[in-house]
Amino acid sequence: MTLKKVNAIEVKNVTKVYRSSNTETRALRNANLTIYDNEFFTLLGPSGCGKTTLLRLIAGFEDITEGSINLFDQEIVNLPPNKRPVNTVFQQYSLFPHLDVYENVAFGLRRLKKDESLTKKRTMEVLELVQMKDYATRKPNQLSGGQQQRVALARALAPEPKVLLLDEPLSALDLKLRQAMRYELKTLQRETGITFVFVTHDQEEALTMSDRIAVINEGEIQQIGEPEQIYESPSNKFVANFIGEANLLSGFCKTNGENGLCELYTGHSINLFVPSHIKQNDKVTIFIRPERIKIVKSSKDKSQLSISEFTYLGNAATIQLKSNEQIINVNLPIEDLKVFKKGDYVDIEFPKGSAQVID
């Protein structure tokens, strides 16, 4: 991209500590990240990792312990939530139960003292956008989970926030609806051009919807990048394990550099990039996705690797190879389902660029 990206949100050295009478919990440690305008940005991590805390800090629901947050180059840390031009979609929707759909959606506009005709126009516009126009007079408890979700979205979009914050908005829906809503949310983001900050613990959601992802664990940001980047070259073991399936194999390296060489404890050699700080013969961990490993038939006298588990999945199979206490997981493509069976001796190959030395 040649255009200069505009920073929507800058999180600078943010730390959040929860204090209660005798304990201190560090929910976020020195977090730094920049979210660009018009971006679908996801905060991904296991529950309790601090992702929701970060979202609530941006919304203004928590007081910050240290650091600062800028919204379009303006410091917002000292503003109460009602003075911040960002809106939140809550996990349990939190629709006002005593107000109907229309009044829920119009709530923000009324507080902003927009005139009545404008409020009505905008409210109907967003209800149309989320296909809930026909439900304007219903109360929230007369709506299904999916419909409540749409109203919650409309309510947060109505005041045209500069950034929309979404706190695991799909987690309360059932699987089918969740998958359909993913696509809709992504489309909505493109159409409105509003920056979305999306919190989830579901890696599939993150990979399919996001422009960029920040992976968070134990209050620290592990990696920020585009979905392919995070999946293909995770920056550490946590990211490798948390997103998709990963083989983390032990071995040692013989030569450094772009065309380095390492050997696994199973005896297999791999060509891969070996950073210069890795010393020869030091123990290293090598990361490779199960679907990148190629397996070929072998025999007992040529290979020590045998198929110890064979799990049939319908459109594919996963197999587990065992050798010298090392376990290697491999995804078997559909055309090979009939070729291999449990107990077979096999050999494996690592295509170029498929493996990576990992910290």
Binding site: S20, S21, A59, G60, F61, P80, P81, N82, K83, R84, V86, N87, T88, F90, Q92, S94, F96, P97, H98, F107, G108, R111, L112, N141, R155, A156, P159
Partner: protein
């Protein structure tokens, strides 16, 4: 041979034989005295306990009894003063205790609210009597109102606290997020959602005040007799059928208010 195997009635393991009948007896025990009282209030006999025939005469007589009317008015004045006071105090306390997070006087304040429930009523009654007498506070009904307010606070507090706890705290945050300041969030979200709880609290406090007898007996001076105290003196002087009639009316009134409360509560839960 197979035909001889009589099938025993299926019973879930958690279903105990005889418990249903026992429960019926239990409810009978609770309600038969009330039923008997109401029946006898329609007794035409001059003697309270001997049934001679159906009649409304004792109800009619109530309306010409000035003492009963004064006592009823006193009861209503006290309840309409003490219940709102207790409800207001309970509402503010519940807001601070449920929404206020952890703070230093939390346990102390919780203790203060439950104190009137912990101390035996007769102790509260005589302590309040000594207190007013030794400080020379003698403002008639106002003494009674003060004592009732204190005693009604925990009853008003319970449903308000329950309503606040049942309320999603994110609703208030959502309102703040949608540009609502503190005052307007309280007015547009917290208060409307809390109204059924506050009404329930008010009704319970009202019933407790109307029904209270022991504290009123000790605290009330000559001119400030309430209905229960008057009924007590009638019972003590010998049971006249008029007592049955006025007692039935009081029971009916309390049951009506509590049913209203129940109705509101169901609305909160739905």
């Amino acid at each position: 041979m197979l035909a001889k195997n009589k099938k025993t009635k299926f019973r879930y393991v958690w279903n105990f034989p005889g418990f249903g009948g026992w429960t019926a007896i239990f409810f009978g025990f609770l309600y038969v005295p009330i039923f008997v009282l109401v029946c006898y209030s329609f007794n035409s006999s001059k003697f309270a306990m001997i049934w001679t025939g159906f009649s409304f005469r004792w109800y009619a007589k109530l309306f010409s009894n000035d003492d009963i009317q004064t006592a009823t008015i006193n009861s209503l004045i006290v309840a309409f003063a003490a219940a709102p006071l207790a409800t207001i105090i309970a509402t503010f306390s519940a807001l601070a205790l449920v929404r206020g997070g952890e703070f230093r006087f939390r346990e102390f304040s919780n203790g203060l609210i439950t104190l009137p429930l912990m101390v035996p009523e007769i102790v509260t009654a005589v302590a309040t009597l000594i207190f007013f007498a030794s400080l020379g506070i003698n403002f008639g009904l106002i003494n009674v109102i003060i004592a009732h307010t204190v005693f009604c606070i925990p009853f008003a507090f319970m449903p308000i606290k329950a309503a606040l706890e049942a309320m999603d705290p994110n609703l208030e945050l959502a309102a703040r997020d949608l540009y609502s300041d503190k005052t307007s969030t309280f007015k547009t979200i917290t208060l409307p959602l809390l109204t059924p709880g506050i009404l329930s609290g008010f009704m319970l406090a009202f019933v407790i005040s109307i029904d209270d007898f022991i504290i009123t007996l000790m605290v009330a001076g000559g001119g400030s007799t309430t209905l229960p105290v008057y009924i007590y003196s009638m019972v003590k002087m010998g049971v006249s059928p008029e007592v049955n009639a006025v007692s039935s009316l009081m029971l009916g009134f309390s049951i009506f208010i509590v049913s209203l409360y129940w109705f509101f509560n169901r609305k909160i839960n739905n």
